[in-house]
Amino acid sequence: MKFDNETIDVLIGGYMSRDAAHDDYEAVRQSGGYLHGAVVVSKDVDGALAVEQTDHMVREGAAGLGAIGFAVGLFAPPLLAATAVGAAMGAGAGKLLHHRTENRLGEQAGETIPLGGAGLIVAYPHSAAGKVEPAIKRAVKKVIGEAEGHHVQALKSALSDAQQKMRADSS
């Protein structure tokens, strides 16, 4: 995979149940499209967090994405729960690519994911969009960010783009 001047898409999906996020997580893994990474984070109504992520995500993180970080605590008052879930997951997205994902994600998601909600983040080259995006069937809130450039910068920018779209849709 060439890292110069590539276009990266980041899809953020919001869900009202862990099962639904997990279904889409499995679907993108089975889609045949190349993934830079995918992660699903859920919080049950008691507040317990659960995290699943692809090997890709760990590998990409270890390759030097540790500097990526995003603001937490989007306070968008959405009309629907789905939007809130998605917005909250947007806030947590950056941490998903941190090389110390597990601990940091837990801390971040604990603050941002609504009780009972779940989110899915998928990063993939734009050329894989035709396979990856149709696999997402259960998200009740979905945005896609896109950016071009060196791999790390493109990934960071695409995440930022997706977050902004999530925030805009939630206000």
Binding site: S17, R18, V45, P77, L79, L80, G116, R138, V140
Partner: protein
């Protein structure tokens, strides 16, 4: 024995060709008579009022339901004293009388220990009552009343291996009552009113019953209608020439649904079917007990399968929580499925963690072969239900079919006729209005007896019809029954809505059992005649003012409440859901004075309802916590950052609303002894009502719990002392206050007409 099933349709029970196995209903029908032209009103309380008084529902104050009481005489929800009901007459003439299950005839605001009790079941003439006062109830965790006391949720609710289940309990209590009567007096006649919460939402039943229907509805509602229709013809419960009415565009074709959602939809009907069969089972147990006493041959059993047609109130999507629709939360079917998954998945649909309602399209299929359903008084889907009459000692034509036009107001006069009891002219010194129904007793012994009930009006929320000598004028307001948005309602405002301009349909039922052939265009004179007759009847029976939907939507609201502060001492429990302080859409505070013993305390300080809508202020692991469930869709929790101190302690939860508007967001602040100890935000709050039935408790969380983190300790009683809990509902000024009040009334009304 009078049995009434709730929210069910003509095409539900197998006894009438439906897909739901009802062996006991069939046993009664095969040993007695099926009535296939029996009619009800299109709504819960109105049918019950008509059934138990023998009079038209508006004439006894029940144009609408018990939750909705206005100053218009036909809509007070208060039984007039000049209309003594059937149980009172029977009790006064020597019968032991008892009612079990759903009541729904006591005004919402009178369901507490201060009464008054003359409109509770005992006041209607029942010696004994065991059941629930409202319009629906959880079957796992009901908040019950016994005679004149709300007794709450049975203690066995918490038994994981043998959980409490109301339908079983109703059967047990009825049999126990019958045995007690016979132990004292071997001859005294009895009158049992067995009124199931089934099959109203929430559709609660164990897996064992629901699993019997696994895969039985995978064909969808369109095909199910065709199958039911074919069986109805084979059974002969509908005439051979009957036509199956077409699907209205309000209901989607089954084939148009995404394949991935069909299991979700099919499961809804599987649970409903299992729930309904369980009701048949428990009625059967009571019948068996009467048989075992040796009295079945000489017991008149009248069993009506539905107080109105099957309910459309689940909207097209169905819901994991019946009150999401009533609270105006727009959720797609995918969202509903995901919320169901949050609380256990579709296999847990019907279990203790959800309060499900099925899709309106399943209800429509349950009303086969008719159009529409509950609330739609213009069409038979809302107004025609099965009735079976069983009386071996007198009925010779066992298994026979009766097709005389009959109506729910005929039941009372028929029972009195058979019992040989005249209608009283005076009760308690008050001259009585005569019953409006007519006895169909002679049809029990003579299949060819002429039709006595030749004329009847119907009206529910503006939907109306006029029946006379076989002709049926149908006038439906042009509103989808489950849509109550301001945009839709504005077209029905007084002065704007012209009832006579509503489309008029005309059917001749002797030739058209299902209302499939509208002949209005061929008979304009008949249409005009029946329109005029409706207005005459409406005037005579207090239907007027005729309103499409209800008066509160059009500026007619009760006076502003004068009380904004409510005090509850520490031992108050089971405050019914319609009587909790109305904190909705407001800023408010909850303040509690506590005594915390040395070593600390834990438990619930105050809790309303449960995890699918409610709030709880509690202490766990030394931490003061406030949990708020916005109908199980959003769940918010705020915690104190210090340990609750010992001694006399005052804690306070303060909600500062963003503004006086429905479902307002706002900021929560927790205080201990006036020091801020925690904060949080709630983006959305409940605009209308937390629960249809679950109550509020001080010092514990009875029934289903609000915060499931203390599920294993329920009811999680407070181990210190709760001196008192005070609700202060912050008043808003001038226009804001009036707007909020109107909004509150709209919400209550929306709840009421779907109860």
């Amino acid at each position: 024995m009078l049995v009434l099933i709730d929210d069910a349709g003509f095409g539900n029970p197998s006894t009438f060709g439906g897909p739901i196995n009802t062996p006991n209903y069939t046993r009664m029908a095969d040993g007695g008579l099926r009535y296939n032209r029996f009619h009800v009103t299109a709504l819960c309380s109105p049918t019950r009022a008509a059934l138990l008084t023998g009079r038209n529902n508006h004439a006894v104050g029940f144009g609408s339901v018990g939750e909705f009481s206005t100053g218009f005489p036909g809509y007070t929800a208060v039984l007039p004293r000049d209309c003594a009901p059937l149980p009172r007459i029977l009790r006064d003439t020597g019968y032991s009388t008892a009612a079990f299950g759903k009541w729904h005839l006591t005004p919402d605001s009178q369901q507490g220990p201060a009464g008054p009790f003359d409109r509770w079941p005992n006041g209607w003439g029942f010696d004994y009552f065991y059941g629930f006062l409202g319009g629906d109830s959880g079957q796992w965790d009901p908040c019950l009343a016994e005679n004149q006391k709300v007794i709450g949720t049975p203690s066995t609710f918490g038994d994981a291996e043998n959980p409490y289940y109301l339908p079983d309990d109703m059967g047990d209590k009825t049999i126990e009552w019958l045995h007690a009567i016979r132990a004292q007096d071997a001859q005294k006649p009895f009158f049992v009113y067995f009124s199931t919460g089934c099959s109203h939402a929430p559709h609660h039943v164990s897996q064992a019953w629901a699993q019997k229907y696994r895969g039985r509805f995978d064909q969808g509602w369109d095909r199910l209608r065709e199958e039911t229709f074919a069986r109805q013809k084979t059974l002969g419960v509908i005439p051979a020439e009957t036509e199956l009415t077409p699907r209205d565009n309000a209901f989607p074709a089954w084939d148009s649904l995404p394949d991935r959602l069909k299991d979700y939809y099919a499961r809804q009907m599987e649970v409903y079917a299992g729930f309904s069969e369980n009701a048949d089972h428990n009625v059967g147990r009571v019948i068996d007990a009467i048989d075992e006493l040796g009295e079945l041959d000489n017991t008149l059993v009248i069993w009506i399968w539905g107080d109105n047609g099957a309910s459309l109130e689940g909207t097209i999507t169905g819901s994991f929580n019946e009150l999401t629709m009533q609270n105006g939360i727009p959720l797609t079917d995918e969202m509903q499925l995901q919320l169901a998954e949050r609380y256990g998945g579709i296999d847990a649909w019907g279990g203790q963690l959800m309060m499900p309602h099925y899709s309106a399209a399943w209800a429509w299929a349950g009303n086969t072969p008719f159009k529409w359903g509950k609330q739609v008084a213009s069409h038979l889907g809302g107004t025609r239900d099965p009735m079976v009459v069983h009386w071996p000692q007198r009925v010779r034509d066992r298994g026979g079919l009766r097709s005389q036009f009959t109506h729910v107001i005929d039941v009372g006069p028929t029972i009195l006729d058979i019992a040989g009891i005249p209608q009283p002219t005076h009760v308690d010194g008050i001259a009585q209005k005569p019953m409006h129904g007519s006895s169909f007793a002679d049809s029990l012994v003579d299949p060819a007896t002429p039709e006595h009930h030749t004329q009847q009006y119907f009206e529910t929320i503006g939907n109306r019809s006029m029946y006379k000598d076989g002709w049926w004028l149908a006038m439906r307001t042009q509103r989808i029954p489950w849509v109550l948005t301001p945009e839709v309602l504005k077209d029905f405002a007084p002065g704007k809505w012209d009832p006579d301009a509503d489309p008029a349909e005309l059917y001749y039922l002797p030739d058209d059992f299902s209302q499939a052939k509208d002949v209005a265009a061929q008979h304009p004179d008949k249409v005009a005649e029946l329109k005029n007759l409706f207005w005459e009847e409406a005037s005579k029976y207090q239907v007027l003012p005729l309103m499409a939907t209800l008066s509160t939507f059009f500026g007619m609201v009760p006076p502003l409440p004068e009380v904004s502060r409510y005090e509850f001492r520490g031992d108050v429990q089971n405050v019914l859901s319609g009587m909790v302080p109305r904190i909705y859409n407001h800023s408010y505070t909850i303040t509690a004075d506590l005594l915390v013993p040395p070593g600390g305390a834990e438990g619930v300080i105050v809790a309303e309802a449960d995890h699918l809508g409610g709030f709880s202020l509690f202490v766990q692991d030394g931490t003061l916590t406030h949990t708020y469930s916005m109908m199980g869709v959003f769940v918010y929790r705020q915690e104190a950052d210090i340990v609750l101190p010992e001694g006399e302690v005052t804690v306070r939860m303060e909600f500062s609303a963003d503004g006086p508007k429905p479902a307002t967001g706002g900021e929560v602040t927790l205080f201990i002894n006036n020091e801020i100890v925690g904060k949080g935000r709630m983006d959305h709050t409940v605009p209308i009502r937390f629960s249809a039935y679950a109550g509020m408790d001080i010092g514990r969380d009875n029934g289903g719990v609000v915060d499931r983190s203390y599920e294993d300790k329920k009811p999680f009683p407070f181990t210190g002392t709760v001196h008192k809990v005070v609700f202060d509902i912050k008043p808003h000024l001038s226009d804001d206050e009036n707007e909020l009040h109107a909004t509150s009334q709209h919400g209550q009304t929306a709840h009421a007409i779907t109860a």
